[in-house]
């Protein structure tokens, strides 16, 4: 995915807030953004999976990025949203974010690559750092976030 970002000019990212940080999610994987709704807990699931929701008749598992990143648990507010990510057809995943802010277009020159530290799994969650205006946006490598290394 890193290669893609460096090749294609002007990618669009949805900027979300988790905790104090801003994260960017590549818009091509985003299927939908929905409001927080009732989540049905799934027993024995990975701790960062909050459960499943019913999205217009489809069952979609929902994960908490906060828990996955080792941050404190989510507090659901009026601005909490679930972003439905579709990596491949037929299998969608929702990720909970504190707030959806905007959509930005980042050019190659705005993106700084991050070096991967093989020992720290968390670095593989990021594909780069985007500079937008004054702020910095951590660009999520969404496949790395969703797909559990232990399972695969």
């Amino acid at each position: 995915m890193e290669e893609k970002i460096s090749v294609i000019d002007g990618k669009q990212y949805i900027v979300v807030k988790i905790g104090n940080e801003q994260y960017g999610i590549d818009i091509q994987y985003v299927d939908n953004i929905v409001r927080m709704q009732r989540i049905t807990r799934v027993p024995k699931a990975q701790s960062y999976f909050k459960g499943v929701i019913n999205l217009r008749g489809e069952i979609i598992p929902v994960m908490s990025i906060r828990l996955k990143f080792g941050l404190e648990a989510d507090e659901f507010t009026n601005s909490t949203r679930i972003i439905i990510i579709k990596l491949e057809s037929q299998s969608a995943v929702g990720v909970i974010v504190d707030e959806v802010k905007e959509v930005v277009t980042l050019n190659d020159s705005d993106i700084e690559k991050v070096t991967h530290n093989s020992k720290d799994e968390k670095t593989s969650y990021l594909s780069g750092i985007g500079k937008h205006g004054d702020g910095l946006i951590s660009l999520l490598n969404i496949a790395g976030v969703i797909i559990d290394k232990e399972i695969n």
């Binding site: 049905t40 799934v42 027993p43 024995k44 499943v52 019913n54 008749g57 489809e58 299998s91 399972i151």
Partner: protein, 700 residues
């Protein structure tokens, strides 16, 4: 010609023909003189050849062509069915199947020429008809060449036909038994519209009189109307020339017929000269073959391009053939659905509140009836007879029987039992596995069987039948059975169980051990009378389909594997329960009873809670603990226990509250979420809430 639109039909029909060929060959092997079977085989092979030719699959066509030649000789009584022949024919069918698989994947037949099979077929043909070495294919080319050459050179009304060695042989034979040999050229009226049909009638008439051993163009081309207005045949018959002529002229729109008695002198009757003349032509023939090859290649490239576009997935969608009646029923129900909707709409406009209320309820009831029927009908559309999976098994058992050198026979019943399409697609491999097990390890060698006082031929049974909401498939054999002690011993050796456990273990539990993953290792296969080859895989697959498998055995008398599968996967009846404030669904199929159990009835065995229910001891499973549910504050006076069964094993699930029975649609919870298989899926309740479905098989 763009034939891609016919690809789907081609694949379907080819599969059917291959299946029929397989079945008929099996019959033929047992009854070599069954004329009906031979005819059936010939017809199937013939259509197959034609279809492959039309679609431009040259290799496939060539192979079927050669097989058809053999069938044709058998049909004409010139060859006998031998075991060797049947073996080669089966190999041919396998090769055709692999062509088909290739075509399905990539719209291309692949590049395997299966030269070995073709050679073997030709050799059999030669031996069977007793003649010298020749290359059939080249011969075909030679004929084509010389005929066209002659047709141009001689304006003769009777077209000269070159004959191949085996045809020459047939002619000699016919002369010997006093039959007449005629070369016939038929001219069909030029304003005839259906010339292929006329030609067909001529052939039919001729075949009543004798044997047509050759035609030019070939029969297939004639049937496909790939000829001008004339065609020529060689006929072997006892009839006089006039009779034959009259028979042909009886067919309408035949313009002229020319007959000539064919003399042996016309034929180079010495092998030497014939081979010489053949050699002379070989060069041109090879050239012609080369050209053909090239065009074939070009065709293939054309196909290859289209295939490349959709390379990743098979070119053909999976489809279900649906009885038109089922569709009509569906259509009717849908129109009723529309009526019901209109009813609701018109109610909305009515004024009186009271009428509104009662009419509303009426409409809801109507709607419910329609949706229930609709569900049933859609399910029926998805149902496929199990036949489509099991019909390849007789062939497999036959091959195994040869390979293992054991006598065995497969008896099948209930092939018309219907199962959901998804299940049908998945059930083939597990069944095959079980059958192979039975054949390989269950059935003993003829000597052993004799010594044990059984008939030398082993029997394997595959029985399918419907039992309530389940379909049961039994794979049974009358072989050696499973040696339970050996199974235990092996389990102890592997450290799966301890000696004490083994001593107290019931026979049933011991057999269960076979389904453990650790038993699918090679050593065990030899240790334990061979059982246990990947049975865990079989079990996993069947459980994945929502079914279960159970083994029964009697040492020395055989074993029986019983598979239970749900009729349909998508929609099931379930009992909704509450745990804490969460809702779960338990499939009704696995529920035996629901009991109220007071605390005093709970006994402890090895610190585990059990209850004694009408004489049987049932372990209690505290669902709230397993599922980490926050328990309710108030303690009920007694426990509500749902007794579930997995095979013969029972367990009591302790629940907080029963909600009721409901029809639920099973949905997957996706592959990302990991849940130790306790949850079999999820469903959406009437209020939009999600309820999880418990997989009883993993709980018990």
């Amino acid at each position: 010609m763009d034939v891609s639109q016919y690809l789907e039909i081609f694949i379907d029909e080819t599969r059917e023909h291959l299946q029929s060929l397989n079945e008929q060959l099996l019959i033929l092997e047992k009854e070599p003189d069954n004329a009906d079977t031979i005819n059936e085989i010939f017809r199937a092979a013939h259509s197959l050849k034609g279809m492959a030719g039309t679609m431009g699959y040259k290799r496939m066509q060539r192979l079927t062509h050669d097989m058809e030649d053999v069938f044709s000789e058998i049909r004409n009584g010139k060859m006998n069915v031998t075991a060797e022949l049947v073996d080669i024919l089966f190999k041919g069918l396998d090769a055709l199947e692999s062509y088909l698989a290739n075509i399905q994947e990539a719209a291309d037949e692949g590049t395997d020429d299966n030269e070995a099979i073709i050679k073997a077929l030709n050799r059999i043909l030669e031996i069977g008809l007793g003649k010298g070495v020749e290359n059939k294919k080249e011969d075909g080319q030679v004929e084509a060449m010389s005929i066209s050459a002659l047709a141009e050179a001689t304006p003769d009304k009777i077209k000269k036909l070159t004959v191949a060695d085996h045809e020459r042989h047939a002619i000699t034979k016919a002369k010997e038994i006093g039959e007449n040999v005629y070369t016939i050229t038929v001219y069909i009226s030029e304003n005839c519209i259906l010339k292929a049909a006329r030609a067909f009638l001529v052939f039919k008439a001729l075949e009543e009189l004798g044997d047509v051993i050759k035609s030019s163009p070939e029969v297939q081309d004639i049937e496909d109307e790939r000829f001008d207005f004339d065609f020529s045949v060689i006929l072997l018959t006892k009839e006089k020339i006039d009779v034959v002529k009259q028979a042909i002229l009886n067919v309408s729109e035949v313009k002229e017929v020319f007959l000539e008695s064919m003399e042996l002198i016309d034929l180079p009757n010495e092998t030497v000269s014939s081979s010489n003349s053949n050699n002379g032509n070989t060069a041109t023939a090879t050239e012609a073959a080369q050209i053909k090859e090239d065009t074939a290649k070009a065709n293939r490239n054309g196909n290859g391009n289209t295939a490349a576009k959709q390379n990743s997935k098979p070119v053909v969608n999976r489809s279900v053939r649906v009885d038109i009646e089922k569709l009509d029923v569906l259509m009717n129900l849908v129109s009723e659905l529309i009526i019901a909707k209109n009813g609701l709409v018109s109610l909305n406009g009515s004024e009186s509140a009271e009428r509104h209320e009662s009419g509303f309820n009426e409409q809801i009831e109507y709607l419910e009836r329609v949706t229930t029927n609709l569900h049933e009908s859609v399910m029926k559309v998805r149902m496929v007879p199990i036949e489509s999976v099991v019909n390849r098994f007789p062939r497999m058992i036959r091959d195994l029987s040869k390979k293992l050198n054991k006598q065995m026979e497969l008896y099948m019943t209930g092939e018309d039992t219907e199962l959901d399409r998804t299940v049908i697609d998945e059930i083939g491999d597990p069944l095959m596995h079980l059958l192979r097990n039975s054949a390989d390890h269950g059935i003993e060698s003829a000597e052993e069987r004799k010594a044990a006082g059984k008939s030398e031929q082993g029997s394997i049974y595959l029985d399918a039948y419907q039992d309530g909401n389940n379909v049961v498939i039994e794979v049974k054999d009358d072989g050696a059975g499973i040696n339970v002690e050996k199974v235990k011993q092996s389990a102890i050796n592997k450290g799966v169980i301890t000696q004490e456990q083994a001593d107290t273990m019931s026979e049933k539990d011991a057999i269960e051990l076979l389904f453990r993953p650790s038993f699918s290792t090679a050593e065990v296969i030899t240790d334990v009378s061979g059982r246990g080859v990947g049975l865990d895989v079989v079990k996993n697959k069947i459980e994945g389909l929502g079914g279960d498998i159970e083994a029964r055995t009697k040492l020395g008398e055989g074993s029986n594997f019983i598979i239970r599968l749900p009729l349909t996967l998508a929609i099931i009846q379930a009992l909704m329960i509450e745990l804490g404030n969460e809702k779960y669904a338990i499939p009704l199929g696995s529920i035996q009873t629901i009991e109220d159990v007071s605390y005093s009835e709970i006994k402890y065995v090895q610190t585990k809670e059990v209850i004694n229910l009408r004489g049987s001891v049932i372990p209690l499973i505290r669902l709230e603990k397993i599922l980490d549910v926050t328990p309710r504050e108030e303690k009920p006076e007694s426990l509500t226990v749902v007794i579930v069964a997995k095979g013969d094993r029972l367990a009591g699930l302790v629940v907080d509250n029963l909600i009721g029975q409901q029809e639920i649609v099973i949905k997957s919870i996706g592959k990302y979420i990991n849940n130790n298989k306790i949850i079999g899926g999820a469903t959406i309740l009437g209020d939009g809430e999600v309820a999880l479905i418990l997989d009883v098989n993993t709980l018990v």
